[in-house]
Symmetry: C2
Subunit: 353 residues, 2 copies
Amino acid sequence: MNIDNIGTKVSKWFQDSGESPQVIISSRIRLARNISNHRFTAHCDHQEKNAIISELKMAILQTSIGPLAQYIDIATASQLQKELLIERHLISKHLCRNRGPRGAIISEDEAFTAMLNEEDHLRMQVILPGLRLDQCWDVVNRIDTEIENQVRFAFDQRLGYLTACPTNVGTGIRVSLMLHLPALKMTKQIEKLLNATKEMKLAVRGLFGEGTDALGDFFQISNQITLGIKEEDIIAKLTQKLIPKIVEYELVAREHLLRHENSLLEDKIYRARGILENAYLINSKEALFLLSNLRLGINLGKIKDIDIATINELFMLTQPAHLQKNAGGSLTPNERDELRAKIIRNKLSTHKI
Amino acid sequence: MNIDNIGTKVSKWFQDSGESPQVIISSRIRLARNISNHRFTAHCDHQEKNAIISELKMAILQTSIGPLAQYIDIATASQLQKELLIERHLISKHLCRNRGPRGAIISEDEAFTAMLNEEDHLRMQVILPGLRLDQCWDVVNRIDTEIENQVRFAFDQRLGYLTACPTNVGTGIRVSLMLHLPALKMTKQIEKLLNATKEMKLAVRGLFGEGTDALGDFFQISNQITLGIKEEDIIAKLTQKLIPKIVEYELVAREHLLRHENSLLEDKIYRARGILENAYLINSKEALFLLSNLRLGINLGKIKDIDIATINELFMLTQPAHLQKNAGGSLTPNERDELRAKIIRNKLSTHKI
């Protein structure tokens, strides 16, 4: 993981399509932690922020993921570098917008990221393809323990881990899954599902987390409660109960469409393919929608000569900052739309299975 | 020309793409005539309408186009047959909606049609591909003279031919051209052109004449003045002055787009091709727009493996009544969209040059 290479290829963890790729794109767990003898980031001066970074950096780089990880100084990173990291889901917009010393530690396969001086001193995440929350938890929990051997986190016997925002107090955990729910959207059942998730105390967000809309049938579902329930219980409930139910709803809706709305479905899928393979201007929103339809076509067995890995790659590499990284310079929106269409055309016409 | 075969193939006259196919789709001249010793159609009872039909039918079938022409009784024709004739621009909606005895005489190549008991006793037209007004005039003028040898038309020495609507009095001629003006539309110059045509006393209408909107960049331009100017002068002015100017505007606009908006142009053209070759549901309006873009692509040399004849055929055969004729029964709108998409897909994938 060299910062100069970020953006030229798809993230390693995302090359593997994972279990249940039909519906579950990826699993992610993040933990929020703060060092006990420092104020929360928002109340720190630069000196204290630098001290926090030093302590965390040293501790994290000495953990088992340390040797292949790299520290990126966000305070001095270029706008393009920051946007690339956001597009790859490695850092948050919040970290970019923050001021003063702040950084990120990113593992070579980009599955592990630690943000330093975001809302909390430390926010670390593990992201893996498909339904792999157990594995995400094993990794992030292990790293967390390894760090805790060197750094004392702010912890209260009664409340648990203390965090800048009370919604994270306790376990400091956020467990989330990126789901692809095109059939629930087409059959207009998505609203019903979203209401049901609220009752299950789950939050539903768009592709880029908090405050973003669901785009192209992608929905990020995560736990809202962090206090009074063990991490393993949150994960077990999601993995064994809630997510399989949502996956089942989506698969039933797909089956319904196949039986009763096949021409509508085929039109959506093949039309998307026709446009992606032929258009000369595609904006990022349209690309997302069309690739989403193509993904559905692959998952339904209607498209056999394109694989999910190709779709994942196009999702990632046709984002605005990625396009500019690969073009080697800044591009106007129109130039981006042109390059995006070209990359998609070339990829779909030459890199078939 | 057997009425039962109408709709299975493209009209013979339309198979040939004509001169100036870049911009001018077709040329059409129609004459309005009434028999002198009968009231205008709107004032006739059934008996008189039948008498008018007898006289005109006998006269027309004895002209030089008679042997290969056929009479169609519109009063007893099925709804589908009438719609087929409208979609082929052979009869008017007005003739269909009229009540009582009425009919049409259509030549084998469908280039000549005579409507009996439409607004006037006789409305006859000659339609040919490209810019061929002189040829249209030669034919329709010859037939008109041949009919006049047997039937006495209502004619006033001062006014000329008398017609049901005063706008047709005099020559009873309407000269019109179907133009394809996608570049003027894309560059937003079409309004300017439409204003200019008004000053030139030309009427601009949509694909199906009076009261229809311009669809898919097709505009029908025709003379508005029929009185006080010789037929040959109307034709000469259009053929030598006005139409070449409009064609030039369109070609200049295409050149401009090629130089300055090439990616927008290519996106429009190749995206249309991608959708037409891949979609599974296409409504008639979308088909018109997409085929219009494909036609532009062929004319600009960007699409080389599809010819204009294929586009013409698809224009004609994917209209609602044609689809139902070829399916052998009535179709729901959704079934039509499905069949339309299938016909287009098959034609474009298998019948390339």
